[in-house]
């Protein structure tokens, strides 16, 4: 438990295991995201990043271990935990029949926000992300990138103390990526909140994250600040990633075999 004067820890994951039938999604994962920190969760496709994210936001139940968001269990004390989270899922699946503005109204209502303040904030974020022209079109008609922008605005709307972002940039254009990155930095640096972001793009991690954890087949195989991870492997995060996930030999062999054809 947090001490009375201590700053509460945004996210504590302790020996978390999630299984899909016989298959292991996450195995014995332990990590902590501190206040004001941007933590990157790196991993190949299927490494368990999205499973981790879904468990944090209460979509997936752990088979063992625990997740605490500011001390609250998202699977049992759901409302308390979820009030403190802003979430962008990996696949931007929303209520397709609503417009982004209608969707934001719904999210703001559920989060019990005041109309005036939230209107200004939503309009500002939408403007920054060049989403304004799309605000009154049904979500079904939007591109993947614009859907992702809608989710990003919805996640930032209540200035959550913990942002959980599952591959939030993969459909965004470079301008939107830059703005989103700055928004996240601002969010963390102004002491408003911590950010957990999953990605398999090393550049995103290098430019944005303070610390990172590397997931491989559901296990955390490496963790540290970006410079620590880079420093131990030729100052290159990609090399570090490949070494820690034991993919470096496999990559080399695959490239050689392609060259022989």
């Amino acid at each position: 438990m947090e001490g009375a004067t201590a700053r509460p820890t945004p996210l504590v994951i302790d020996r978390l295991t999630v299984r899909y039938g016989e298959r292991v999604g996450i195995q014995d994962l332990t990590l902590v995201v501190r206040p004001g920190e941007i933590y990157g969760l790196l991993g190949s496709n299927g490494a368990g990043k999205s499973t981790t994210m879904k468990t944090i936001v209460g979509l997936q139940r752990p088979d063992s271990g625990s997740v605490r968001v500011f001390g609250f269990d998202p699977t049992t004390g759901g409302v308390e935990a979820k009030q403190r989270i802003g979430y962008v899922p990996e696949t931007p699946l929303l209520f397709d029949a609503l417009t982004p503005w209608e969707f934001l109204e719904f999210v703001a209502s559920v989060r019990r926000m005041e109309g005036e303040a939230v209107t200004k904030r939503a309009a500002r974020y939408a403007e920054a992300l060049q989403l304004t022209p799309e605000l009154h079109q049904p979500i079904a008609t939007l591109s993947m990138g614009n859907r992702q922008k809608v989710l990003l605005v919805a996640a930032l709307l209540h200035r959550p103390p913990l942002l959980v972002l599952d591959e939030p940039f993969h459909s965004l254009d470079p301008r939107a990526v830059r703005i989103a990155r700055d928004l996240l930095r601002q969010h963390a640096s102004e002491g408003r909140g911590a950010v957990l972001i999953s990605t398999h793009t090393m550049e995103v991690a290098e430019r944005l994250c303070d610390r990172a954890g590397i997931l491989d087949r559901g296990r955390l195989v490496g963790e540290g600040t970006i410079s620590e991870l880079q420093g131990s492997h030729s100052h290159n995060l990609e090399e570090a990633f490949l070494k820690l996930t034991r993919e470096d030999e496999g990559v080399r062999a695959a490239v050689e075999s392609l060259g022989q054809e």
């Binding site: 209460g58 409302v79 699946l93 503005w101 209608e102 605000l135 049904p138």
Partner: protein, 558 residues
């Protein structure tokens, strides 16, 4: 390059399990993948799709076989003693064919969102197969969504007609009509589906646009009204027709016989008797029937040809143009239950399957209210009819409560990440059910006011039944929230989740209907006793159901 049916069949065999999977588990709409091995998921999806098609087919079969009772001389002597036998048979068969068309069309409306959101055909297009083969695969996939209901119509309709008219020839003669309604229904499903994607689903926000969408959706709900119309308006329609034929202008019979699907429905009488007895002298009516049948037969063939390529074009249809209406830039926040209600109304205004469920009790109220107004009964009788209309609205609204919960399917996975308590979710849905009931009852009141004279007894009846409607909604939504929490999956659309919807709706309808039954029993002694029993039982039910639903749900998120 020419297409290959064999290759197309092989492709749809591979693709259909994906369509079934999407229809049942709706992963593309945000649900988590079920926690089973892939082979088990595919098996379950396919089984549940078959179950749903079976349910529609059983309904179609019952309708076809039930018609045999109405075709007999006893029913005719009761419904239309003066109508010519051939016209009577044709009229009943027109009712049957229109009902079959409407049910298949409506099934199509239920499945279309899944078919449209599925990227299966665009994926097949990337394969190195001729374009015509992809067209055919699309056609076979589309056809497979309707195969069992379509086969039931084509097989059971001739059997039912043959049995009823004691003639194999008569049975065979309805076959073109049965085939025609299947083709017309599939075509209508596609045309309306395309219209839906372009102008309803793709319509921008704003209250005036929402009103326009609801106006479109009233049109959408009409085919589903066919079952109701067949049962309630059918007998009156036959009597009306009898009067028109007897007193109407010359040529009215020929005009009627030319209208779709009258010629095709007249063929059994013609085949069984060699003539259309009682339709007048001369070959005129027979020629009209034969020419009409030929024309509609040709149209059916043309439509069947169009269907071969149309499903593929449907899946590439997108909303029309860009809209420039920027609307109001003000976020209006509401309480969580009201925000659920507003969201559902907005979604329903762009989703015909859900809009229909809201509109049906209202249309029912308009139909019965309108009939009461026009038929001009005395105030006591008008009160009885208006109360019956309100009771029907209560039962319909509660019967459809499970489907109102199914609206959550879209974006369910995201909603579950919001701090939305189960209580708020339940209250939001109960508000919707209560709103539909009260709006329907209000509509009845407005329409029948001129006949009721004193609206107070009607208003008291509506208010006394209200707690029972709320109780039924609490019970149904409470059960579904528990199921969703346990399984992590809400029921899906009516097509794929119809078993669940029906299983949960039955106790709800019993809860809503029990006070009405007691009302009927009680008022035999005195109207006050009936009303008292209704109110008392309804309030007790509400107490029990709300406790079960809200305390059971707790404050946790959905």
């Amino acid at each position: 390059m020419t297409g290959s049916w064999r290759e197309a069949y092989r492709l749809q065999q591979r693709a259909f399990p994906e369509l079934a999977y999407e229809a049942i588990y709706a992963v593309r709409q945000g649900n988590l993948a079920p926690n089973f091995p892939p082979s088990e998921i595919a098996r379950r999806s396919m089984r549940r799709v078959v179950q749903s098609k079976l349910l529609v087919s059983i309904l179609l079969g019952l309708v076809a076989l039930g018609t045999t009772a109405v075709l007999g001389p006893t029913a005719k002597s009761l419904l239309a003693p003066d109508l010519a036998p051939a016209l009577y048979v044709a009229t009943v068969l027109v009712g049957l064919l229109v009902l079959e068309l409407a049910l298949i069309w409506w099934t199509g409306l239920q499945v279309l969102p899944t078919f449209l959101s599925s990227p299966i055909l665009p994926t097949l297009e990337t394969l190195p197969v001729p374009s015509a083969t992809v067209d055919r695969a699309g056609f076979l996939l589309f056809l497979r969504l309707f195969d069992l209901p379509a086969a039931t119509t084509v097989v059971l309709t001739p059997i039912a007609v043959g049995l009823a008219l004691h003639s194999v020839l008569a049975g065979l003669a309805i076959l073109p009509g049965a085939i025609s309604v299947v083709v017309f229904a599939l075509s209508l499903a596609l045309v309306t589906g395309r219209f839906f994607v372009r102008h309803v689903q793709g319509s921008p926000g704003g209250s005036s646009r929402m009103a326009l969408r609801w106006a479109y959706l009233v049109l959408w709900a009409i085919p589903a009204f066919a079952m109701y119309g067949y049962v309630t308006i059918g007998p009156r329609a036959v009597a009306w027709l009898s009067g028109v034929v007897a007193t109407g202008p010359a040529g009215i019979v020929d005009g009627l016989l030319a209208a779709y699907p009258f010629p095709l429905a007249s063929l059994p009488s013609l085949a069984a008797n060699g003539a259309l007895s009682g339709t007048g002298s001369g070959p005129g009516p027979v020629l009209v029937v034969l020419a009409g049948s030929l024309a509609y037969g040709l149209l059916t063939i043309l439509l069947a040809g169009w269907l071969l390529t149309a499903p593929r074009s449907l899946t590439t249809t997108r909303a029309a143009g860009a809209y420039t209406d920027s609307g109001s830039l003000r976020l209006v926040t509401r309480s969580a239950p009201v925000s659920i209600l507003v969201k559902d109304l907005r979604i329903a205004s762009r989703t015909p399957a859900f809009a229909f469920l809201i509109l049906l009790p209202l249309l029912d109220a308009v139909a019965i209210g309108g009939w009461t107004l026009l038929s001009g009964p005395d105030p006591t009788e008008a009160l009885n009819i208006a109360s019956a209309a309100a009771a029907t609205a209560a039962l319909l609204a509660t019967f459809f409560s499970p489907a109102f919960f199914a609206i959550e399917l879209m974006g369910y996975s995201y909603t579950r990440t919001l701090p939305l308590s189960q209580r708020s979710l339940i209250l939001g849905k109960v508000l919707l059910v209560a709103g539909v009931y009260l709006l329907s009852a209000g509509t009845v009141l407005v329409i029948t006011l001129a006949r009721l004279f004193d609206p107070l007894p009607f208003a008291l009846f509506v208010l006394a039944e209200l707690p029972a409607v709320l109780a039924a909604a609490f019970l149904e939504i409470g059960i579904l929230v528990r199921v969703a929490r346990r399984r992590g999956l809400p029921i899906t659309n009516l097509y794929s989740g119809s078993w669940w919807a029906t299983a949960v709706a039955v106790p709800g309808v019993i809860v809503a209907g029990a006070p009405l039954a007691l009302f009927e029993l009680g008022r035999a002694s005195s109207p006050a006793l009936g009303m008292g029993l209704l109110a008392l039982v309804a309030i007790v039910e509400l107490g029990g159901a709300a406790t079960f639903s809200l305390l059971g749900a707790g404050g946790g998120t959905n």
